[in-house]
Chain length 162, copies 2
């Protein structure tokens, strides 16, 4: 199949200048502020976005250089298939975060609950709609024994180039 | 900024051979079966995925050829900024669906709640974890007056090439 080419629509600015110590999910980054700078040529696409309290951001883990099919994720010391983890070192290194929207000024969104490295290229913004995006689920695989470690676990830089 | 290049990791197979009449979200496709064929070179990455009841699929809207910054989404007859909609005709035409996982056989996942066109190139699979992916939110912008139309609204093919 053909390769797929995307062009960044903006940049995420955050307090995290280094991959080390980034919270590993937005749920462990409550209140952490950041900014989404949408390039001016796409700014019109933000029309009506202020009505949403949460946005889905899709972005490129730009400092990740390689992937493995079996990875040891931050929350566990056992290997799992990469598609059963949220590890950034994936065949296609796309990240997904649901952040809180706090404001819009021209082409910049102010956001909270940010667990994204400063300077990350943004690929897409979608409105978060619970009727579409929340599912009732009882089975979360290997996370069920490990998720209690979420708040105390940080990125240790293992997947990024120095 | 540089362009970003991804390589499909598989293909989604579904009952929808044409963009017309595809349900517009998984929530309107309860029980609709499909298959995710992961290319064999990535199959090891599926290890441990059976433990999860729901998966996040990211895929390319491969039949969409163009985008607008202001779009009329399926659920409304007014224009909205594309980033305030889930329209497939986006600057980077990535789709996101949360589907139910019902089985794994070799490199094929059987899934339900499928609202994806047959033959769609798959970019990533992530485990769905409510603690990461569900947010309490009261504000869903223009959707709040329109979401009651979800079950009765289908893709009409407007964003895809014929």
């Amino acid at each position: 199949m053909h390769t797929i080419t995307y062009k960044p629509i903006g940049i995420v600015h955050s307090p995290f200048k280094d991959s080390k110590n980034v919270p590993i999910q937005t749920a462990a980054a409550k209140g952490t502020p950041g900014t989404v700078e949408v390039f001016s040529e796409y700014a019109e696409g933000l029309t009506d976005i202020e009505g949403f309290s949460h946005l889905i951001l899709l972005y490129d883990f730009h400092l990740v250089t390689d992937f493995s099919l079996m990875v040891k994720p931050f929350l566990d010391d056992k290997l799992h298939g990469v598609f059963a983890t949220r590890s950034p070192a994936r065949p296609n290194k796309i990240g997904l975060s649901i952040v809180r929207l706090t404001g819009l000024k021209l082409n910049c969104l102010t956001i909270e609950d940010v667990a994204i490295l400063d300077g990350t290229p943004l690929i897409d913004i979608k409105p978060f709609v619970p009727a579409f995006d929340c599912k009732e689920t009882s089975e979360i695989g290997w996370f069920s024994d490990k998720i209690h470690k979420l708040q105390s676990t940080k990125d240790d830089g293992r997947f990024c180039k120095k």
